[in-house]
Symmetry: D2
Subunit: 157 residues, 4 copies
């Protein structure tokens, strides 16, 4: 459930477009902050009912000073139903205020590029990066708020 | 919150297409059953978190012998994000087993035909029809399960 | 799960004392109203988390004009911990506003008199009486709000 | 909401009796572990619905190797309803498996001794002690699981 990808700085995200941010974000530019990245799909029930509310709670509890909460829309199924325009409507209706990246589609297959690069098993997946940009946790599925809080506490300590 | 539309049999739905049913359904053909029709939009948060689970609970509790639970996808905003293909993906991912009608779009405006005909204020709206096909309740917004149960109990009595 | 006790008027409750009412209540005096009686124990977790909130919701939804919501404290275990003084503290802390009867203890055994007379299997049990004072439903355990609502709807119809 | 009591090791608890432990526990003997102490009352609704389930979740998530979860029954009202025998029944019915201390009553007033010594404002209060036995957090009222997790994460780091 929790596998570190690498020991050095994690690879950058491959992103087709960003929502809720004036310009593209990179792990390099976020160095110094803890980064919580939620890979999700807008039509994934567990993402909608648990992961995205958890992401909102995280931002509300820890603020934006030491932590960056990001979404990564990693569509690997129902591509026609979850394009950029649909995502924009979803982000608006669900009042998502944090930056959301659209994972770069791969013309050769259903799995988008960042999802493949990070070997994600599905959505939701929560990835936690430390202040040095290293991937410290990659958690697939529904995670208890207290567990996520404890990992955040250790990274923010 | 609860306004009867008419005293006689309610007007038929205007439907572009149906999901989860071998053929079109009509109020006339459902005469003899109580009909619970949930007007919803797939990107409406209250529909997803409350109305559709309530519709599933209704079908599980009362069965299909005396009751027909139906969905009506009445899209009046974000039309490009909630087309038929997106709805099919949504119905699949959310394990919706009851028939779902796609409200007939109106080429002259954003509000689809059945929504306009029934003067719905938004989504979710629960419409309850008695065994004679008369609209008895039209309830906009989040409704307590116990209230809905009591209305069902009276109609099924 | 649902067994009618009798076909005629139900036997009266045997009650040691009442809380939240100026005088004793009887089924005979409540004739004309639907009566929802929740048998509970103050240290029964399912009673506290589900049955009593449901009783409050019932009173809030249907009011006191056609319906009487009552509690029946039927202690059959941990008697020393659930005496009248403890119950009064519980009723105060949990903001229970409806009348609560203390089931008459039986000097010869742990099961109090009304519980025995009505052959209750445990707590919580919801008993629903129609306007003629007949016991129509006796439901042991956690009941879905929608189911309870539908039974209420039929009895109030 | 969060006030450290002292900078040095915290004062020991004054305890009339312990449940769920073969012998008395002391902060001194728990040195080396993080200690999470939940002050509660068995008839306090917020304690029952939120704090005690949170204490159970904490033990389930973090185990007993590095963390000691304890209850402190600090009765300051309804004393007759919350005596040791009642508490034992409560602990049994609510399946509380961690050690629970009964705060030493004060013959001169309603507030028990540990509650007074730690200046608790009411129940529930969560007190977190670090591995050196220092009180690091004293949190009155309902606390978000993620917040509690983050404090635990920092103390366990």
């Amino acid at each position: 459930m929790d596998t570190a990808l690498t020991t050095g700085p994690a690879p950058e995200f491959e992103v087709a477009a960003w929502l809720n941010t004036p310009g593209p974000l990179t792990l390099a530019a976020l160095r110094g902050k803890v980064v919580a990245l939620y890979a999700f799909q807008m039509l994934c029930p567990g993402c909608v009912s648990h992961a995205l509310p958890q992401a909102k709670a995280m931002e509300a509890l820890f603020g934006r000073h030491e932590l960056a909460v990001l979404g990564l829309h990693s569509v690997f199924e129902h591509h026609a139903a979850m394009g950029p325009q649909a995502l924009a409507a979803f982000v608006h209706e669900y009042r998502i205020g944090f930056p959301v990246a659209i994972d770069q589609p791969d013309p050769d297959g259903p799995v988008p590029r960042t999802m493949a690069r990070y070997r994600l098993r599905g959505t939701p997946t929560l990835m936690l990066f430390d202040r040095e940009g290293r991937l410290r946790h990659s958690l697939f599925g529904h995670q208890h708020d207290m567990l996520v809080g404890s990992l955040m506490g250790r990274l923010l300590a």
